[in-house]
Amino acid sequence: MQFYQPQDARKHTTTPYVTGSSVVGIKFDGGVMLASDTLASYGSLARYVDFQRIKKIGDYTLVGASGELSDFQYIEKILSELVVNDFCLDDGYTLTPKEIYSYLTRVLYNRRSKLDPLWNQLVVAGHRDGEAFLGVVDLYGSSWEDDTVATGYGAYMAQPLLRKGYRPDLTANEAKKLLEDCLRVLWYRDARALNKIQVAIVTNDGVNISDSYHLDAFWDLDSAAPQTCLLYTSPSPRDRQKS
């Protein structure tokens, strides 16, 4: 933490404190799907384990966040002000996903230009009038659209899997399985990930964000326990709970 220096009042670059890890997203035939884990980390500490990092904005759009989560709560607030403004204008027109994406690009770029960034990588996903939208805006104000997106570690590990698995005629179930597989890989290899996840989908029928659920993982590797050694297996706490 830097002590406040009045003479440097205009320099505000902040370090992130409570952060979220990857968000992954993919377009499929009929909509767009996002997924993330529900972890808010405090450095290496897994501080809040059921934190929603994907939120619904308006009726057609989802925004998912990596990075500093207090800045995400601020972004949620300014986006909800936009939505309320639309409602008050009552002219039958509401913001499209692409407009929200453009607005966020401007906001984040202007903050970075003041050396006071909102420390986030945001995924914007939407589906409206039969058209799907998927894009990313980051803390520098860079933004791009793609058929598959991933932030954080996901950009390195999940994006190749998403690109390999993407087809324009992907079904919702296939998309969900692909996103779960990506989050599983991230659970294996990202030290700031959690195996409790949630999946959000937006189609012509609107937005739906699932409750958080547990992601199964595979640990029965030969390198973990060679076949020749005797394994003591006790029921996992989750299985004990079930019985």
Binding site: Y17, V18, L45, S70
Partner: protein
């Protein structure tokens, strides 16, 4: 220019704080140690500050910063409650005010707060506001430097829907363990039980802690 003595540092609340929601309200608790470097400036400090009749905040981080925040929020809530006809303000309002101060001044502040209390609309509530100004509603929250030592204890022993007695015992045990291991926490355990009947403050003296080495 003002040059403080070389070994003197800002007053810090190296702390263990906790707030737990139970069936009828909340129980909040804190240790009582305020340090200047490694000198214990106050060994019986009160880190449970009232923001309104039935809304308390637990303070950790810089003593000055958290006192300033609590003073501002107490003033705002006072005005707000008059404006709503002397009704009880919502706990979420208090938490939101604390969060706004912490978020908008995040470069200048070192304040980790827990806001907890009772209002007739939503009952007992606990809100965690860590560094950076994130607002997280929780069934229970821990904070301060001593909290790192009791994350596992709390994971293992916390249950939803406890009675007042169970919640108080949980709070006292958790704090005792944190105070045992954290050099920046210690002294006495101060507690407050907040429900529709108001606030009941409690104390566990330093030689009667539920756990000591």
């Amino acid at each position: 220019m003002f040059h403080p003595a070389k070994d003197q540092q800002e007053h810090m609340l190296g702390t263990s704080i906790i707030a737990v929601r139970y069936a009828e309200g909340v129980v909040v608790g804190a240790d009582s140690r305020t340090t200047t470097g490694s000198y214990i400036a106050n060994r019986v400090s009160n880190k449970l500050t009232s923001l309104h009749d039935s809304i308390y905040c637990c303070r950790s981080g810089s003593a000055a910063d958290t006192q300033a925040i609590a003073d501002y929020v107490r003033y705002f809530l006072d005005m707000h409650s008059m404006e709503i006809g002397n009704d009880m303000p919502l706990v979420s309002t208090a938490a939101s005010l604390v969060r706004q101060l912490c978020y908008n001044n995040k470069e200048a502040l070192l304040a980790g707060m827990i806001v907890a209390g009772y209002d007739p609309v939503h009952g007992g509530q606990v809100y965690s506001i860590p560094l950076g100004g994130l607002l997280v509603p929780r069934p229970y929250a821990i904070g301060g430097s001593g909290s790192t030592y009791i994350f596992s204890f709390c994971d293992a022993n916390w249950q939803d829907d406890m009675t007042e007695d169970q919640a108080l015992k949980f709070v006292e045990r958790a704090l005792a363990h944190a105070m045992a291991r954290d050099g920046s926490s210690g002294g006495i355990i101060r507690t407050a039980v907040i429900n529709k009947d108001g606030v009941k403050r409690g104390l566990v003296l330093g030689d009667r802690l539920p756990f000591m080495f």
